[in-house]
Symmetry: C2
Subunit: 729 residues, 2 copies
């Protein structure tokens, strides 16, 4: 199923990065765009070959017509026709190879990928792993419900996330509201920059994402119109590759140039314009306090930095974490669980001294080896390569050990969940994808039928976020370090004259004083110069929402040499951010397989979830409907509940084979079948191997394997094997 | 601290119940209103006594003045003055008793309650259990963040909820989005009826909850103005008791009558008008699809009934459950965590055959005894009484065994968390609190410093919710039961004539057909009568938003005898709904206590959380800063991590007493102190008892006690005791 790792074009991030420092901050909560299908290297030559064959067919066709017109002898005409047919066959062959090349690189690979996806999604929806929300009201695009097994998988993934990250590192977990006042998201940049470009059907008003329409047009042209020239194909591919870099104007121009119209009506389209992706609302009854549903959970951590730093005993480094809902009002959601309007994020903000980004536990992950895809490999058209993490850090490919530590921990997290190592890579952001302040950024990308999907972003965001909130709020989000010995530094000193300010501004005095004290060096010396030359100056007090007149007796601004006992600085933030729904969807694809029954006339679906992830750990079946067996099953069920093993008891009269098939399709790793009052069998899902265990012992054996304290092969070698007389399939 | 159980006035529910069938549905997600302080029975007589004393003082004052004016002999005047002073003292005494009576019933009980609350809340905010959200931007009323210990407590409570309810009963847990399209909440009634009455300051536009202003006025008058007559006091108390029943008009009239003005400006107020409490937003870019942030999680379950019923093998009973955020745009939030704009709900919808509400596991809870407060006790002014649950069900006080089973399970859940049994009661809704369709409804109320707080609602809502969505969506949310033998029933048969309807309504034919088929019996026979008498009739087609003309050849309506093999019915819903934030806040109050140090000159705060709830289970301290001790501490920390015991290691140089005090204040049940490389001590938080355990064994001993596999008293009797030489305090 898996196409091999291939290079990915710059993602949506590029556009953001070029437009604003916001870029990287927005990355994980909005991007994750899948790459268009990779193009085979032969495509270009095939297009040229096809043009040549077409010319040959045309020429030979003319020749045949000329022979016929000139009443040439029949054998001569027949020979020419045969030559024409041979040329047509040759052309058809090239056409076929070109078709294969453009539709996914591996013959009918694209088709296979879609068929595979169809099989997985069909199983997932039929067994209620997830379903479109509000189905009885025809649903809403981009909103999904997790049904019982999906909800259990999600809760297992989150519990493991909490154990693997929060508990292991003693992170400070917080839980903040989704409703967020505008000022917070103004400071973070989301109010101004969290947008996608949109076009409207000029007659019906239906909205489309501008880049999606252009992308669909190019892909369609490349895949379905085999007659386009190699030059045209190259142009379209360039558009696809630079799609995320296009400004509104350029995107609009391309849409006009290609004559793209509204897909549903063929009506003309408006020019592209930005649409903010946050769900807006209003807090309280007055209508005066605009708010948004948070687009990410990180801001809730940043605004609490001061309290969290204090909670941690005023010591760095420390990490805070949050799991919660985030919201993004997509223009036109696609790709099922991968691009939705409401999703669960799990985010970590690790605060660290910018002068010391080492990590005490890095050695514990340094030996890990996995696919990494550094900037250089991407730029030179190479593939991801298996790299030792320690080497990547020591060579400087990964910027620092803390970033490297989290890359390693994310690798362990994802592979323990059951993500296939061969379809997981860490891709470094290209220079144009990153904001100017970011030190480095790596995405954990997982390959699924939609291509390579960004599922976790791991970014060193330097001091950007804390500085933005310090500026907007006037509260210093900084850390302190006691110096071994005092040092002398030159420092800006602002001394407001509270008496004069009080006389001039009365009740507003405090706001003016705070604004004066919050000035940066440049602003302060501009004010000083103005006061010295004119005796007074206009000064903007944000908290009052207006400028006031400051006189030269109201504030003293100077630079003084000061002996400092401590260093005050804004910490750097290293942020691993997890799109939980995306990870789960990829996990579904990586875990899914089908196998035939014994007769070979039917295919059964299986999810090979590890016990950690499986929605239910065990099922209990009486082999046949018989009161004695049923009461043994109830007894075992009770022991499993006491042991905390989530399970399901199935006393329906279905055949045992059917019942196995039904639970395999839910990914249940073990089944206990009751066929006596003394011993029962435990069946392992993937091998279908069965052992016999006593009724009293069975719950604890299953518990041990589930908890990872015992392996199945150990169980297999410790208990008598069982060969089922009842045909399983 | 706890005032004893007292009767509570009808809650806000009353208003809703009287206005609409929506009432009970809205209860848990909006109400939980605390009762005003209970009035002592002596208050009325004290007011009368005070009026008598005042009259006596006035009369004696006049007598003194008359004596003085008549130049009476000095001894006579002195005697009269002494009598006057005695009367004044008597009056002051009555005044004092009245003051005590009105301010909480127990002398300075109200003051004590507030002081207690202040101490708890101060500790909670200082240790970051919770804090106002977006503090650096001056916060937003009604939004709170859980900091690290609060977040851990919340996650422990939710994990236990999942274990105690979802896993124990094999409930079908789902996870639906918060963003909800309007049509769903139109069907549930929230769009039309989920409102509070609001008044506006006519000059500034500031908004207030109308009932809050009237309530504050009455309480203030009753508590601070001792001169009002007993009659006036009775009137004000009647207003308070019927506050929730007042219509907008009556509420407005009372506000005018009492001359109530805007609290901040004393400006006049507008008439009260309804304000919808849902946060509104818009889904997608068109602005054409209104949506709301869900006010409760239950609707996500109801709309999925059909799929869930199928998932459960088309069998009743079964329960679905959901944990998630809910939103309520309060007009003016109060009472900290108890009335907030965003909160976590955990809801269960147990679907059951209305003809059989027995429960197979009821016997497991029938012997439980706790405070119940049935309707009759409330109406006759009695208190809650300790009742055996089995008796309450068998006597019919509780409507049915399934409802009773959940009451018992809720009792076990809350008390296992650490809620004080003496301050927990199950209060039955009064007849006027319940919607007409509800069979019965009980609230688990917990007493805290704000009074009795509704924390869990347990309602038998009959078939209301499924019917509402069946009607609106046209999808039948029903269950089927195979009958043992077929039965003959008379049934409404509606046969639309599709040909005629097609000719008349063209593209709308389908909507008309569906509307005709969806008619109830009464409506159908009215239509039949109209068609027979007049040959045609107006007929409302909801989906088209208008009435159409139906002719008598377009539909055939009759009653026919039909042999049925199955019974088709709408299941009843029994809904336990948990306000998680409220439970947690009450738990904080019930767990908090202070104790003096040995010198008795300082008070230390302690939370007596059971291990199940405690944010951290254990702390590890080296007794003094010494590398050997520190490495033992690290070793123990590692074993605790492996054992999955959340803990904190504290290697600061603070005194051991200070470190104990700091973790007692977080409610950490055990502390391991390292004072040797062989043995260490384990200290239990509440008893402060210490035992000595070997380094190798300590993690597993703590783990056993945390998991409930061993009690502390067993540990205490198994290991040598330790008497600390270092003064703990």
């Amino acid at each position: 199923m898996p196409p091999s790792p291939s290079s990915s074009p710059p993602s949506l991030l590029a556009r953001l990065a070029s437009s604003a420092s916001l870029a990287s901050r927005l990355s994980i909560s909005r991007l994750f765009s899948s790459s268009p299908p990779a193009m085979e290297p032969t495509e270009d030559s095939l297009r040229k070959a096809l043009a040549g064959r077409q010319a040959a067919v045309d020429a030979q066709g003319n020749a045949v017509r000329a022979l016929k017109a000139g009443k040439a002898p029949k054998p001569e005409i027949d020979a020419a026709i045969k030559a024409l047919n041979d040329l047509k066959i040759e052309k058809a062959d090239v056409e076929k190879r070109l078709q294969a090349a453009v539709s996914g690189g591996a013959g009918d690979g694209a088709l296979t990928r879609e068929a595979f996806r169809h099989a997985v999604v069909n199983t997932l929806e039929r067994r209620l792993f997830y379903i479109p929300s509000f189905k009885i009201y025809r649903g809403v695009a981009g909103l999904y419900d997790y049904g019982p097994p999906g909800c259990a998988v999600k809760s297992n993934v989150l519990a493991y996330w909490r154990q693997h990250f929060v508990h292991e590192e003693n992170m400070l977990e917080v839980d903040c509201p989704c409703v967020t006042p505008e000022i917070v998201l103004k400071a973070s940049g989301h109010v101004d920059k969290f947008t996608d470009l949109m076009v409207k059907d000029e007659k019906t008003g239906t909205c489309y994402r501008a880049d999606h329409l252009l992308k669909d047009f190019c892909n369609e042209k490349l895949q379905k119109d085999l007659s386009i020239s190699a030059e045209k194909a190259a142009e379209l591919k360039l558009v696809l590759a630079t799609l995320d870099d296009l400004s509104a104007d350029k995107l609009g121009a391309k849409i006009k140039e290609y004559g793209i119209t509204a897909p549903d009506t063929k009506n003309p389209l408006s020019d592209p314009y930005p649409f903010n992706l946050m769900f807006q609302t209003s807090i309280g009854p007055s209508g005066m306090l605009p708010g948004y549903m948070r687009p990410e959970t990180a801001q809730g951590i940043f605004v609490n930095f001061k309290d969290l730093y204090y909670y941690n005993g005023n010591k760095l480094p420390f990490a805070a974490a949050q799991i919660g809902q985030a919201f993004r009002n997509e223009i036109s959601p696609r790709q099922g669980l991968l691009r939705v309007r409401e999703f669960t994020l799990a985010e970590i903000e690790h605060f660290v001294d910018p002068e010391d980004k080492s990590h005490p536990k890095f050695s514990g992950v340094a030996d890990l080896e996995f696919f990494m895809f550094p900037r250089e490999q991407q730029m030179s058209g190479q593939s991801a390569i298996i790299t030792q993490l320690g080497e990547a850090v020591s060579k400087g490919t990964v910027n620092n050990a803390t970033l490297g530590y989290f890359i390693g921990r994310v690798y362990l997290f994802l592979t323990h969940l059951g993500i296939d190592k061969g379809r997981l890579r860490f891709r470094q952001h290209l220079a144009n994808e990153m904001a100017h302040y970011a030190a480095d950024c790596w995405d954990a990308e997982i390959e699924c039928s939609y291509g390579w999907i960004e599922c976790v972003g791991i970014a060193d965001r330097s001091a950007f976020d804390l500085r933005a909130h310090t500026e907007k709020s006037g509260v210093a989000l900084v850390a302190h370090e006691k110096l071994a010995e005092p040092r002398e530094v030159e420092k800006l000193v602002i001394v407001p004259n509270k008496k004069e300010l009080g006389l001039a501004f009365k009740g507003n005095q405090k706001m003016v004083v705070e604004s004066l004290e919050a000035m940066g060096e440049e602003e302060a010396f501009q004010l000083k110069a103005a006061l010295e030359s004119k005796g007074e100056a206009e000064f903007l007090v944000c908290a009052m929402g207006k400028s006031v007149k400051i006189k030269d007796n109201m504030v003293n601004i100077s630079k003084q040499k000061i002996r400092e006992n401590q260093r005050v600085f804004t910490p750097s933030v290293i942020e691993p951010s997890f799109g939980i729904g995306r990870i789960i969807y990829c996990l579904f694809e990586h875990s899914f397989y089908t196998r035939p029954n014994k007769a070979g006339d039917e295919q059964f679906n299986v999810f090979r979830f590890p016990p950690l992830v499986a929605p239910i750990k065990c099922t209990v079946f009486p082999l046949i409907q018989k009161p004695e067996y049923e009461s043994v099953a109830q007894l075992i069920s009770r022991s499993l509940t006491v042991a905390g093993v989530s399970h399901k008891i199935d006393i329906t009269g279905n055949t045992i084979g059917k019942r196995y098939a039904r639970t395999d399709e839910l990914g249940v790793p073990f089944a206990i079948t009751v066929d006596s009052q003394v011993d029962v069998t435990i069946r392992e899902r993937d091998s279908k191997d069965q052992v016999r265990v006593s009724v009293g012992e069975v719950a604890s054996v299953v518990k041990e394997v589930i908890d990872g304290h015992r392996t199945w092969s150990d169980v297999w070698s410790s208990f008598p094997h069982h060969t089922s007389a009842s045909a399983e399939d």
